[in-house]
Amino acid sequence: MLSVFTATLKTVARDRGVFVWALAFPILLSTIFMLMFANIDEAQSFDPVPTAVVADADWDASPLAGAVESLAEPDAEGSDALLAVTAYPDEAAARRALLAGEVAGVLSVDAAGVPRLAVAPADDGVGVDQVNQTILQNVVSAYGRDRELLAGIVAADPRALADPDRVAAALEPPEGLRSVSLTREAPTETVRFYYALFGMAALFGGTIGLVAVCRVQPNLSPLGARCAVGALSRGRVLVASLAACWVIAFACLMVAFLYVRFVVGVGFGGREGLCVAGLAAAALLATALGTLVGSLPKVDYGAKTGLLTGIVCLLSLFAGLYGEPCMELADLVAREAPALAALNPARVITDMFYSLYYYDSLAPFLAKLGTLLALAAALFAASLAFVRRQRYASI
């Protein structure tokens, strides 16, 4: 058994093709992510809304001008300004900038002193335009709300607005909110891409199991035929081969993990040890998936690799790997059909890292780990049904 183990280890390790998926893929894609997301988490935690104002006499006379000016300055805590304001001499110039996509909206004040907001159709597809426009809508709404409130107050007590200084002081916006973090690490938009990447990379480790299982199938390779007539029972050959596959899949994931942790610099909530345990379970699941696909009867090797790739792409899509709109779709599916998400191994692996990153309690992590092991057991059991008692050739 040990010799089958070491022989499988050597033969699989010599097959460079399997490392493309299990090793080169996560390293390449995480490097791309590292380049792409270099400033998203720092700078894009909040980008000021690019805003145009029509700086005419009406604007200068309006209280909105002062309010907008104060929103364009960083607050006392040094956090970012809400708006990045550009002044235009007239409406036409501001609207040209709007249609050219340089600003999210145009603020102006008409001759009657009523503030106006003009926006262009939101079309970036990820909701940034829409949020920016709504922020500007709120800025303008604030003016109307203050006016309505004062109208209500004056109706209740006509003397309440007698002192203009007191009114101005009352309408000064208070420092009302303090940002706190409830989770172990502050939520960021980018870690999820890396975690989803691990979900996909781990499952692609299944190609290793697939290759090994195909090699020990007597009808798929001469090596399998030789093994089948050898002295070692079929079960033992399989167990030894799969153990070797797991070792290689796990080793590949570990290399990718070390790269992502130390070269790319992605945080794992200071729980790297538990991540390693999670990766071991993920490698086991991947091996089980590869075994199941590899053991499908009457399907040739090429079709099996195609099938495995297809399954992994499908599962990864619902883990949210392919861009932000895809993440929204994945979240929608997870909310509407939690059972599907709970059984999608790519999503479970992604969520497992997530639970380490965000939660103080280890219970969510252990639940995901348990799910992975249970899924792996189910897949192994299913493949056993295919591999057992197969007749390859009859006379």
Binding site: M36, L82, P173, E175, L177, S179, L182, T305, T309
Partner: protein, 408 residues
């Protein structure tokens, strides 16, 4: 003809790839595009962030806050226990979670009426930080209104103060939506779908063409073909024709699905814009065609061409700005992205989506982008021809190198 039909049979014998890469990925592109608000309607739709108010105070101001926020946000209930709070923020169930501390209502009113700094609310933001900021800005506005009411009506009870702030929540400005002249509808949805499909096209065509070429460039098949009466050129041309048919087929399915689903939303665009978008798909398809051709020339096997097609598809699509907007990326990456064909493809589609008036300049800019995409295809194709030539002469293929001195 036999070579041609045999080549097509090779591709047809691997339906899994075509089904997954063409059928399934196109369908995903459709779903994702349908789920987006792309502003094709021309109406303003405000963003409605998900928020939760955890009221530990139980006073009038906390209750009023939830009511006020409900005017512009989806307010969800979250249990006030550590795990549920973490879960709500971590899973993005809420983009903004506001905690009203015990005694807040009384402390707030007392402080603002005495002219002191009022107590603050703790707020935790989820991963969607922009939406979180939006909800936070609304909460700040509520506190401002409550403060104004409390200061100006010093005798008003907390319930009255909160009610006055809540009463004006519905007072929301209605923005004017400025639509570029003459375009009631734009091609945003169609362009977004086609951008998404850069991955579908790349992966499907590289894999299918790589598979086809790989089958023909296996050493013994190649040797058999070379000794056949068919000329090398004729053989190559027929293989190339089969590759082109596969490419056109994949591009037709991808584009056909897009126009069937989103063609009507882009009906406001002139025929020239539609034509240019279709041309963009066709030109982009030439890039994976030449990559697949190159892989075939290099004798890369099925597993590896599958891997290369898929990984390259993802890398190019990410870098080209089709999945994550390039505006969020550092300048160095944008500079790097200019060296990828998908960047020019997405640029061309963005231009087409707003091509209301097909002036010479506007059409020229799109054609310029597509010309660059075509140049990428030509460069890879040239490399493939060289690689094929070298491989033909290599020892493995039985070429001149096999007869070189020192080889048995």
């Amino acid at each position: 003809m036999r070579v041609f039909s045999c080549a097509l049979r090779v591709v047809a014998a691997h339906p899994a790839y075509l089904l997954v890469y063409v059928g399934f990925l196109s369908a995903m592109g459709l779903f994702i595009t349908v789920g987006l608000s792309l502003g094709d309607g021309g109406d303003f739709e405000p963003a409605r962030p998900d928020v939760a108010v955890v009221d530990r105070d139980g006073g009038a101001l906390g209750a009023g806050l939830a009511e006020f926020l409900a005017a512009g946000a989806e307010v969800t209930e979250v249990d006030d226990e550590p795990f549920a709070l973490q879960d709500a923020v971590a899973t993005g169930q809420v983009s903004c979670l506001i905690i009203v501390p015990e005694g807040f209502t009384d402390d707030f009113l007392a402080a603002v009426r005495a002219g002191d700094e009022p107590p603050v609310l703790d707020v935790a933001f989820g991963p969607a930080s922009m939406e979180g900021m939006l909800a936070g800005a609304e909460a700040s506005q509520y506190l401002g209104l409550a403060r104004a009411a409390a200061v100006l009506l010093p005798g008003a009870p907390a319930g009255d103060v909160a009610a006055r702030a809540v009463a004006v929540a519905g007072e929301q400005a209605v923005p004017e939506v400025v639509v570029p002249e003459g375009s009631a509808a734009s091609g945003n949805a169609l362009a977004f779908y086609l951008k998404w499909c850069a991955y579908t096209l790349t992966a499907a065509i590289v894999v299918s063409v790589g598979l086809l070429m790989g089958a023909f460039s296996r050493t013994d098949v190649r040797r058999r073909n070379l000794v056949s009466p068919a000329s090398g050129l004729g053989l190559g041309l027929r293989e190339a024709a089969a590759c082109l048919v596969v490419t056109v087929g994949v591009a037709a399915v991808v584009a056909g699905a897009g126009w069937a689903a989103f063609g009507s939303t882009a009906a406001g665009l002139p025929p020239a814009a539609h034509g240019l978008m279709l041309l963009a798909v066709a030109v982009l398809a030439l890039v994976p065609l030449s990559i697949g051709f190159l892989l075939g020339q290099l004798g890369v096997g099925e597993t590896a061409s599958n891997a290369v097609g898929n990984i390259l598809g993802m890398v190019l699509t990410f870098l080209g700005g089709a999945w994550v907007p390039l505006s969020l990326m550092p300048e160095a990456v944008v500079a790097l992205a200019r060296f990828t064909p998908v960047y020019w493809y997405t640029d061309a589609l963005d231009r087409c989506a707003h091509l209301v008036e097909p002036t010479t300049g506007a059409v020229g800019a799109v054609l310029g982008d597509l010309g660059l995409v075509a140049l990428f295809a030509a460069a890879v194709f040239g490399a493939a021809l060289v690689a094929g030539r070298l491989r033909l002469q290599s020892a493995e293929a039985g070429g001149n190198a096999a007869a070189a001195p020192g080889r048995g």
